[in-house]
Symmetry: C2
Subunit: 737 residues, 2 copies
């Protein structure tokens, strides 16, 4: 003990002198470099996520060299911590730092990145506090640490800065500001070293793509995952669930998977992970029967084990020092704990056909989760366990489904960097419709998926408005575990709700393709308008706008502000949700011609427009030349190999090209190359008529298309590749969808 | 560099094994023990505060042995941090952890103690996040670290706890709770060791007294500091200030010191510390002239130095890496920086008679203060600098005034443990009247003073209600720097405001004595009712109340709840402020008979009463046998040696004894024993009449009393020690005060 203390003393003295070394950058993948400062910890976000870069995806990105910025990044180790400093130019805006709910522009913010429930303020405590940001100048930075990081995103002014602002007298100088120009992002990593990753552009979108590809490519859900889902009340029995499924069918509402809440377990909070014999006497038959009805079963759980679970005793020695609701906390950094956990899930659920999980309470909050003074047998500190628990949950369950060659699509409350490839959607208890949309905007900056779920509403209007939004999101869910609301619970809007649920289904070829692009190319299916090429990010910093008079130049004004309430859905769609009480709203359209989704009519180009669509519609706008593949209305997603009839819509006047993705929709065979990209072209023929052409599937590749019809939403006429007319004046004015 | 890294590697490996050693307790003062865990840092809160225990004060406390608790405290060093665990019994309640604004009971809370502006939530970020708490069982714990500490105040359950709660099924068990019983306070200290202090009781008040005495005894302000103070508008000139002082005099409003806001400086934010020549062409004469009018000058400043200050160049090398509003930050842990700072204040202000400071912006907030990645030439990390900057400010300025043998009384926005003896009152921008009262309650738990300042109001009612509260607080201040409100600004309540301002002055002998008790005995002048002996702290935990039916036993119900809106002012007074809009309120009276301050009438005993005093009065209640020494109305505090006429009030039916303190009221000569305690007794004479007796001042000791009159507020008659009748029926019903 004494020699240990002496040694400690010597090193503590040594450590008082900061270590400041040149960062050596190592290329990891094309356009991705890793820099090392000090002695990084072995346990990091990327190691926990177990990322395997999707190498093939990088080939479709521009070739780039190490950005000059790399040489300007400074890392110093002192006081047992690593201080990072990354330059910021005056006109730069930055985005990211995880799943924020109220802000998109992160410049000037101070954050303490900490996995937690969202507490109503963008302060770094959120479900996915991903230490990754993207600059409007076209690069991304990831700090690969599972510690609580303090981020000064352009806050704090160094006295020796070459760009030091001048002091002003607050007594008399009207130009005095409380926040003078800060020329760096500073990050405090409470560890003696860290890895930092630099993702090159040239565009911000390219940097995000590289990040997602480095993390394995985005998640590709099973096709059914993009259908409609409902979560049932917490004490529902098997019969109750069946009745609910039947009612969806009878009423003609789509339903692809249904979620069982805590009551499926014999004990919950803490959990046994075992079926309740009374409420679910025969889970095997139940699941089979529901699958025959076209509906899969998703199970709620949290990882905190009840003493009555049959794995409790074996898990006890590999669990943390502290309990959560008196349940033990599996030490997920320990391989035995992981194995016990996975074996249990496999035996109880996965092997009998459970399609996935809703993994609750792996985010926080502090009052019930293990404290930072908890210890784990693996030696991993509580802090790092907190930052990575959601990652472990996603990784272990994903692995389990890979073993069964069945894709899953589930829900999780906690995540972090490296999660892009996990087929999980984040959700929470916070219920602001506006902030839910801002979270959707931000999810695209940090490699996670988010659902603006519908839970309850005070009025039919709110119900419909929320429903319209969730239909344009990664998971179209009603989460009715506590109040039992059904899609038709508000009769005055039940018809509109149904129309949108069916629209969700009709758009499945588009959604599925956009998720394939997330997977293969790293392009987030839901994302900020700031990432659009027609939206000049360089002009997004307020001070740089040349003409900021709203009357003279509303577009410049608009894009200099944070855009928090509209987002891109896939390649072509700009969605601008309406919120309860709104009769009209502004929409900022990036440059290029934009068209109304419902009518095909021209709406604007690089400008701020006002829309007042009435209650029946959520405003959706479409890019010029857009090609939106849709299918006929169905109540359940097409099964593997099931043929569908395609309706291909074209918007605007420009020619268009789109690649439609297809595979079996259920297994991981796409990883072996068993998928197809069918090229769709809309071009002007010699008579200046728009003409649609779709390539055949390659030989031996999936081909699930029966019939193709074309719909030219804007053009007065058009023809399909077989020469038949695919549109008429009337078609252009289709109502509803 | 390489050997450094290798050594580092070895030790990092070594450090993975937790060091868990028996804590050896060393007695520091009677009833005060220090325990050491790991290798505590040299730089700590108590070293920065430079505490010198007031040894003499301990002699008046009961003799105690090391509490058994000491052996149950566990300290572990792991992951480079110290984990503390201090047992909590089921029926225990804990108080403290600094200047909280919304809660008094701290059990169950999770806090990150961090000097900061108060952001509206009791989460540990506050102006004085003192890592000291007091238990209802009668002991106090101080963690002497200048790091950001994470506190789990009875939150988190260890699986190997001997008191582990049982798991329940949330699906079906109605007794399920989200917060099962936690049997310890856990504290995470991000350092490889720490000192922990244990302060014995036997009562919670005794523990607090030991803490304050250990920190040098409470602050004893100059007498004028307890008078009335007004802060002027920020760009006021010398003439404006003089006019304002004259107006106070003309209108008959008391005024003892006046505060100049940023405009007195030639440049502010950042500051020159130099007089503005235009607004204050002759500061020396100005200060003298004002002093002749009986009004002292207090100066606002913050410590961030303008390039135009004449000490800027010398301070530059001993300032931090980051600026605040482009001003450099003196490295207060460096003795040269402190000397430059003190010399500047001395030369510019103290030597010409400035009476004190309002030291602003040493708390936060993060957006403008130095970031945690800032460095300082002394090598002290930014985190520790943040936690101690307010302490340094108080210590250096206090020292300066000691040099001049002149007491000061000022304002500061940031403080921490060890500050009890500093003559500073904390203030902030937050402006909830209710929460200001809760802060006053909590200030008594952590050795700081707090003013519920009056700034502006929407209505006369609010103005008066706030004013009534601030009169019963450490500093009776209107802080009108931004809006220029005057005490008489609301004509409809100007008379009542004046009455209370004069009451403040009349009570000066009582206030001054109570501050002397703070100094000599460590008894906080303003504090929670929980510390009263008639208020059973053991019953203050909700779950332990035997009969919690409000109708059956409202007192038990009341004290089981947090009492956040009433407080003790000195030995005898219980103050229960009224808030805007309230027509009536509850007051919880500890056991013992209580009387109305204004009428002397009996109001209750150990019960919850409802009062509806009208707008004219703030409810104040007085203990049985209370002796309240008052003086005649004066607009300025008595000067050194000035004789006053005393009115001694007695309340209730019990005999009473009180020691009245006196000294010159201005210098530090009391530290040389130049003070007096005059014994006042009220006893029943042989005819069963109450009789008041006051001892003469000891020979050679201060004696500033001219005439004494007695007022028996409750008793129908009474006599003074010279045999004259001191009360009548009419006197008992005096109006106003």
């Amino acid at each position: 003990m004494n020699t240990k203390r002496i040694l400690l003393g010597i090193v503590v003295c040594l450590l008082l002198f900061p270590i400041r070394a040149q960062i050596v950058w190592q290329q990891m993948e094309p356009g991705v470099w890793k820099g090392v400062i000090g002695m990084p910890e072995d346990y990091s976000l990327l190691t926990v996520a177990g990322v395997l870069p999707l190498k093939e995806g990088f080939t479709r990105l521009p070739e780039v060299h190490l950005p000059e910025l790399a040489n300007e990044i400074v890392g110093t180790v002192q006081d047992g911590k690593t201080y990072l400093q990354i330059p910021l130019e005056k006109e730069e805006q930055i985005f990211g730092f995880g799943l924020n709910f109220q802000t998109v522009h992160q410049r000037g913010k101070i954050l303490n990145l900490h996995v937690d429930h969202y507490g109503g303020k963008d302060n770094g405590r959120t479900h996915a506090p991903v230490p990754f940001y993207v600059s409007s100048l076209g690069y991304g930075i990831l700090v690969n640490s599972a510690r609580y990081l303090t981020v000064y995103a352009g806050s704090g002014v160094r006295k020796d800065s070459p760009n030091v602002p001048i002091a002003r007298d607050r007594n008399t100088d009207k130009d005095w500001t409380s926040a003078p120009y800060s020329d760096a992002v500073s990050i405090l990593v409470p560890a003696r070293g860290v890895e930092i990753f630099l993702f090159a552009g040239p565009t911000p979108m390219d940097a995000i793509r590289r990040y997602n590809l480095y993390c394995g490519g985005g998640a590709l859900p099973p096709r059914w995952g993009l259908g409609f889902t409902q979560r049932t009340q917490k004490l529902y029995t098997a019969d109750d669930v069946e009745r609910e499924i039947d009612e969806f069918e009878r009423r003609g509402f789509p339903l692809d998977f249904i979620g069982l809440e805590p009551g499926w377990q014999s004990k919950a909070y803490p959990c046994t992970l075992e079926w309740d014999k009374k409420r679910f006497p025969n889970p095997v038959d139940f699941i089979k029967k529901m699958e025959k009805k076209g509906v899969r079963i998703n199970l709620w759980t949290n990882p905190y084990l009840s003493p009555e679970s049959d794995i409790y005793k074996r898990m006890y020695p590999v669990s943390g020092s502290h309990t959560v609701w008196c349940g033990i906390v599996p030490d997920m950094a320990d391989s035995l704990a992981r194995q016990l956990w996975m074996d249990k899930l496999e035996k109880e659920h996965v092997c009998i056909g459970v399609s996935g999980y809703k993994i609750d309470e792996v985010d926080g909050y502090d009052r019930y989760l293990w404290p930072d003074v908890a210890t784990f047998p693996s030696g991993i500190p509580a802090e790092q366990m907190r930052q990575t628990y959601g990652l472990w949950m996603q990784r272990t369950t994903s692995k389990l489904y890979e073993k069964y060659n069945q894709r899953t699509f589930g829900l999780v409350r906690g995540s972090n960097a490296g999660a892009s490839s996990f087929p999980y959607v984040i959700y929470n208890d916070y219920y602001s419709h506006q902030d839910f949309i801002t979270a959707l905007v931000n999810s695209g900056f940090c490699g996670v998926l988010w659902t603006p779920e519908v839970r309850s509403s005070k009025t039919g209007e709110e119900w419909l408005r929320r429903f319209q939004s969730v239909v344009f999101s990664p998971m179209a869910m009603i989460n009715a575990w506590s109040n039992g609301t059904k899609p038709w619970s508000f009769p005055e809007v039940a018809e509109q709700v149904k129309e949108y649920a069916i629209l969700r289904m009709r758009m499945m070829p588009y959604w599925y393709t956009e998720f394939a692009r997330y997977h293969f190319d790293g392009i987030p299916p839901f994302r900020a308008v700031n990432l659009e090429s027609g939206f000049n990010p360089k002009q997004s910093v307020r001070m740089e706008v040349e003409n900021d008079n709203l009357d003279d130049n509303p577009y410049m004004e608009a894009i200099s502000k944070e855009i928090k309430d509209q987002y891109m859905a896939g390649e072509y769609l700009l969605v601008a949700p309406m919120f309860t009480g709104q009769k009209e709203r502004y929409v900022v359209l990036p440059k290029g011609n934009w068209y109304d989704f419902y009518t095909g009519e021209y709406v604007g180009n690089g400008e701020r427009i006002t829309v007042s669509p009435g209650l029946d519609h959520i405003p959706v706008f479409v890019k010029d030349g857009a090609i939106i593949p849709m299918m006929e209305p169905m109540l359940h997603a097409p099964k593997a190999g099931q043929k569908i009839n395609l309706e291909i819509r074209h918007y605007g006047k420009a020619e268009g090209r789109y690649f439609l993705y297809d595979d079996d929709g259920e297994t991981f065979d796409y990883k072996k190359g068993i998928f197809s990209w069918r090229e769709i072209n809309v071009i002007y023929d010699e008579k200046d008529r728009l003409k649609g052409i779709i390539s055949k599937a390659e030989k031996g590749k999936p081909d699930n298309i029966a019939k193709v019809t074309w719909k030219f939403m804007t053009a007065k006429y058009g023809i399909s590749d077989d020469g038949r007319s695919g549109s008429s004046e009337n078609d252009n004015r289709c109502s509803g969808y």
